[in-house]
């Protein structure tokens, strides 16, 4: 259940930086406030995600990156005490509009989690197709869909001969790409990734990053990461989140990745990306 709370008067710090152009947006949050119970954890977050871009969300632990990303596909409201105010515009429509079905939102905006989580009782093939079953969708050519999704996730060549093995028989990096394939199979327009590489070794990490770059040719990606090199390797844009004292977290600076890392406007951004705190 979601109780949409009206934003109370609140002096929210302005997000600095060059931002991103307003045109050709697939996804955007507008004046988003988020609560857990009575505690406001995010204040006034307005970020734009242009079509076929990769945006990295960075910031110290606990500043609300995961919380934010979960508001973008209505996963946040599944936590009992969760509340939010503001808007998330996806393809020109507010996803929190009462007429919108959250299931449709989650199918168009997929999510990959920190820990690879293939369904243990299902085979590789069943894992890829699980979204169809879970959302009661039909697809006439399942084999083609399996191959397409696994290829897009960069896993096809490694698993094409053992599609009937369980997902658990893969390495951690392969499992994560299986999870990406599973999300892709329901044809999302946006993929949200919450620290997708933090449980992986460097080799698997590079492999997933390459997948992300390939995906960004036809879809929009938002990725939370603690890895500054990773943000610079994959992201077109970067947003820096921060939580200070007991205030809610907010987006300090947002703009093209070269700006955030090369010549940030805010001193705190500069300190963070240069490893001076966090």
């Amino acid at each position: 259940m979601i109780t949409t709370v009206e934003a109370v008067p609140f002096v929210a710090p302005k997000t600095q930086g060059a931002g991103v152009p307003d045109q050709d947006l697939v996804l955007a949050s507008k004046n988003l406030y988020v609560w857990f119970g009575p505690r406001m954890v995010l204040a006034d977050v307005s970020l734009n995600f242009p079509k076929n871009s990769v945006t990295a969300l960075i910031g110290p632990s606990g500043c609300g990156k995961s919380t934010y990303i979960r508001t973008l596909n209505r996963m946040h409201e599944l936590i009992p005490s969760a509340a939010l105010a503001g808007q998330v515009i996806f393809e020109d429509k507010d996803i929190y509009d009462p007429t919108v079905n959250p299931v449709d939102v989650r199918l168009r905006i997929g999510m990959v989690f920190q820990k690879p989580n293939p369904f243990p009782a299902m085979t590789i093939k069943e894992n890829v197709l699980s979204g169809l079953k879970l959302a009661k969708l039909s697809n006439s050519n399942q084999n083609e869909l399996v191959e397409k999704s696994l290829s897009q996730a960069g896993l096809w060549n490694e698993v094409k001969d053992r599609l009937d093995n369980t997902g658990g028989s893969l390495s951690g990096g392969q499992q994560q790409r299986l999870c990406i394939a599973r999300s892709l199979a329901v044809d999302p327009h946006v993929l949200l990734m919450d620290e997708p590489c933090s449980a992986l070794d460097p080799g698997s990490t590079l492999r997933v990053e390459q997948t992300i770059r390939e995906l960004s040719e036809f879809m929009t990606v938002v990725i939370v990461t603690h890895n500054m090199q990773q943000a610079q390797r994959v992201a077109t844009y970067t947003a820096f989140f921060l939580l200070e004292d007991n205030n809610p977290g907010y987006a300090v600076e947002h703009g093209p990745t070269q700006h955030i890392f090369g010549n940030p406007i805010d001193q705190r951004t500069s300190d963070y990306v240069n490893g001076r705190f966090g």
């Binding site: 596909n73 996963m75 599944l78 009992p80 299931v103 449709d104 989650r106 199918l107 997929g110 999510m111 989690f113 820990k115 989580n117 369904f119 243990p120 009782a121 299902m122 699980s130 979204g131 079953k133 879970l134 959302a135 009661k136 369980t166 658990g168 999870c179 599973r182 999300s183 329901v186």
Partner: protein, 329 residues
């Protein structure tokens, strides 16, 4: 240079244990052996005590016969040879246990799902405590409840089933009596097995990893698909084990069944569950024990042995199923 590969060094299996650990381990080992010994002693006792009756009747007759009559009149004189066959009681036991599971399992799963996935924290706690309380009620209380409150209602339900669904063989009733039926006994047992099945199912369903539930939700899975494709497959072996535990209780229940079930000898009631022809080995023992002569007591203990073996088989099946589903994962 040719070198001889070294021998692996042996590490004592309990090298990591302290002295207190070792003492504790010894006590635990003794306890484990003790339970094995007790189990074998029970088995031995049952076999030994039932031998006279089985010798008298013949094993095949004892297992396949349906009559149970000591042929002893009230003044203690015996005119004919006694006949003791457990088949009708044995099948009756299984029939009411099946009814109990068919009714109790869906109800239990429904409650468990509600507690784990739907109810608010406070309601979940309340329900959990209520169910656990139900498990602690002595079966004599269930028996009294069954005879005073359930039987009149169960009679009406049975009558309704015969009148509206009597064309299905299991709801046939040729006697026009709807009390003392396996159906009513099955309902009592269903109520009695529900707490066990619910508790264990709730426990295993509650252990579904949250990341799997998240994954399902992120793929557009609502409650039912998430249960069907994620939570139930994960909890499958636990639910099977829970069902077997419930079955064990249903098979062995004595008093509550004795109060509400009409025991019929001489034929096996295979499937007419709303007909007043029931059987139950445990109830048979209660019904006959106090007035039995030594041979009949031996026969009753033979019935006990059959029940014991059935329970062991149920347990073996459940262990096998649990193990094979664990392997699947």
């Amino acid at each position: 240079m040719v070198v001889q590969p070294p021998q692996p060094r042996t590490v004592p299996r309990n090298a990591q244990l302290t002295k207190a650990d070792r003492r504790f381990a010894r006590i635990m080992t003794a306890a484990a052996f003790f339970s094995l010994i007790v189990l074998s002693l029970i088995a031995f006792f049952l076999v030994y005590q039932s031998l006279p009756a089985i010798r008298d009747q013949g094993l095949i007759n004892f297992l396949t016969g349906t009559e149970w009559d000591s042929k002893t009149t009230s003044d203690g004189t015996t005119t004919e040879d006694p006949v003791f066959g457990v088949a009708a009681m044995l099948w009756g036991t299984i029939l009411i246990a099946i009814i109990a599971i068919v009714i109790g399992l869906p109800v239990s799963l429904g409650i468990a799902v509600f507690i784990v996935f739907i109810a608010s924290a406070r309601l979940a706690t309340l329900l959990r405590n209520t169910i656990d309380f139900l498990a602690a009620i002595p079966s004599i209380v269930f028996g009294l409840w069954a005879i005073s409150a359930l039987t009149p209602v169960g009679k009406q339900w049975g009558e309704w089933l015969t009148n509206s669904l009597g064309f299905i063989p299991i709801f046939e009733n040729n006697l026009g009596i709807w009390v003392g039926t396996p159906f009513i006994a099955g309902i009592v047992l269903a109520v009695m097995v529900t707490p066990i099945i619910t508790s264990v199912s709730r426990e295993v369903l509650g252990r579904t990893p949250p990341e799997l539930i998240n994954a399902s939700q992120a793929l557009g899975g609502t409650l039912w698909p998430t249960l069907r494709y994620v939570a139930f497959p994960f909890a499958k072996s636990g639910i099977v084990a829970a069902t077997m535990l419930g079955l064990g209780r249903a098979l062995g229940e004595t008093v509550a069944v004795f109060y509400v079930l009409n025991l019929t000898y001489g034929k096996i009631n295979w499937y007419q569950i709303v007909s007043p022809d029931g059987g139950s080995i445990a109830s048979l023992i209660v019904a006959k024990f106090s007035e039995a002569d030594p041979l009949e007591i031996s026969a009753l203990l033979g019935g006990g042995m059959v029940l014991f073996i059935i329970t062991l088989i149920v347990n073996a099946i459940s262990t096998t199923i649990a193990r094979s589903t664990v392997k699947d994962m």
